[in-house]
Amino acid sequence: MAKILIPTPLRPYTDKQDAVDASGATVGELLADLTRRHAGLKPHLYNDQGKLRSFVNVYVNDEDIRYLQKEQTPVTAGDTVSIIPSVAGGVDAVADVGRVRLQSNQKTPPELTNDEIKRYSRHLIMPEVGVEGQRKLKASKVLCIGAGGLGSPAAMYLTAAGVGTLGIVDFDVVDFSNLQRQILHGTPDVGRSKLASAKDRLQALNPNVEIVTHEVAISSENALKLFEPYDVIVDGTDNFPTRYLVNDACVLTGKPNAYGSIFRFEGQASVFATKDGPCYRCLYPEPPPPGLVPSCAEGGVLGVLPGIIGVIQATETIKLILGAGEPLIGRFLIFDALRMKFRELKLRKDPDCPVCGTHPTVTALIDYEQFCGVRPAAAEATPLNTATEITSVELKQRLDRGDRLKIVDVREPNEYQINRIPGSELIPLGDVPKRVNELNPDDEIVVHCKSGVRSAKAADFLRSVGFKRVLNLKGGILDWVDKVDPSQPKY
């Protein structure tokens, strides 16, 4: 039996006594007995893993058990064991405003010219920016990954705001279907490289900004070198492999990631990969199974949405550069345009995160296509499996021959309104199971969607319920329009 001295905050759990008796041969046993007798103590002394909390100090007589044998420290009758609090606290690292160290913070920022003072006057008269802040902006270098939906507004506002250097990575060409949201590009730019178009637009907006174009597909081979000169990375990517690549490269190079993503009417934004904040992998350690989350090309996106999210990314980038306000670090913003609501989720850095955790397992960039289960250019690369697939040219030939084929279009009704294969029947993928009895298992069936992913699932399903002859149209209606019926529009 030994006496345990109880500190003030724990006395309500020991019937207000400042000393209680407990039995045991070691400190561990003694404390176990103590928490048996006074169960309310347990959560305050031990964490969920059953370990003594770091701020709980146990002394045997006047010795800290950390310097004895910890919980195995023997206790004999007559010893006095004291539980003594360390009292600790402080502000959250993740809310540590303005202390994200940027590369350009390390040198004296350049002076502003008289023209620049005039141009940025609405910034300069605000104390949160001022001349000092505007000079920080002028010293800063920001890299936009993508000159598309998110990259357009982000790049335009960052350029207008007067960052010193704006880099853009893209290798795409402007397409008519981009113009509904990618406001960097105009109708005369269709067919031009996105970078050439972006550079013209941005340079016209603000000739003081150095626009650096990187006409490459960002990859594990070039990402680290690409990021090296920049302070902040603006992730405007539209696919999972690149998103994970950008995240990991940001963590490895120590650059904050002003993240945004969009789908249909919903957008997300956060700031990842700061020193003490979470990264994208803390939120999503694993990518979704391929095909589960449709891309904007498959699911559509409200044209205005990237405007909102891209501008949030630009705002966060500017705040990081200025060191002003409360950045979106450790906070995940979700915007719903239909309901016009913003929600915010709290994010915490995951100590077990494979890339930014305490013991990272990812210490170099990996193969992100493989990580995300995406086979690059699958449509072109894999040979046609004639037992399960059919090409659009072959389909046309067979229809012309008068073969009896049932064509099932598994897209959504609004897609069916844009283009269709003559004679096809619309059964959206989600309705296939409940409408399966409308189909004859003995018919030879060709399923198709936009590009072949959804229809592959429909074909698998039909085969699983006993359909013998199901062919998936390889490349979907896009291939049909390209090779068979160019008079129809593509989307």
């Binding site: 905050p9 006395r11 701020f55 800290d64 609090p85 606290g89 402080g90 502000v91 690292a93």
Partner: protein, 158 residues
């Protein structure tokens, strides 16, 4: 919690917490709250012994804790809790505060923005350790004021 827990703090005691926060700015200050029941009559400034950077952390060593508790007992009063400052951050508890909190204690936080002490709030750990619950600080003119008037407006949460 239907009714906020009330902590009464004399104006001069409150003033000394603010002064301490300004003095140590941009570092965090910390100290013990001593009194009886719900009334803080004295504060004891303690050294911030954190090794993690005093700009955003504070730590009261076990030896200082023990001394504060002993001193309170000698004076015939109780240790009611602790105060600390949040330099350039709002006067609300952080996750770190929550992770390290002790039950029953009152935790006073004073926000010190650009060197000037601002909002002051008081918090109590919920028994299941899940959250901090905000109490009401009665900034009484003297330590015997028992005005039940809560003063949320002054805590910047109004």
């Amino acid at each position: 919690m239907a009714v906020d827990r009330l902590l009464i703090i004399a104006a001069d005691v409150e003033q000394s917490i603010r002064a301490h926060g300004q003095e140590t700015y941009p570092h965090e200050c910390c100290g013990a709250l001593v009194g009886k029941g719900d009334i803080v009559t004295t504060v004891v400034a303690l050294p911030n012994t954190t090794e993690e950077g005093p700009r955003r952390r504070f730590l009261v060593r076990p030896s200082d804790y023990r001394q504060a508790e002993r001193r309170a007992a000698e004076m015939g009063v109780e240790l009611l809790g602790f105060y600390h400052s949040h330099p350039d951050h709002p006067a609300r508890p952080s996750q770190y505060d929550l992770d390290h909190a002790w039950p029953t204690f009152a935790y006073i936080i004073v926000s010190v923005m650009n060197g000037a002490a601002g909002d002051m709030t008081v918090w109590y750990l919920k028994d299941d350790r899940s959250i901090f619950e905000e109490g009401s600080l009665d900034h009484g003119e003297n330590s015997h004021s028992h005005s039940a008037q809560t003063v949320h407006g002054q805590t910047g949460r109004g």
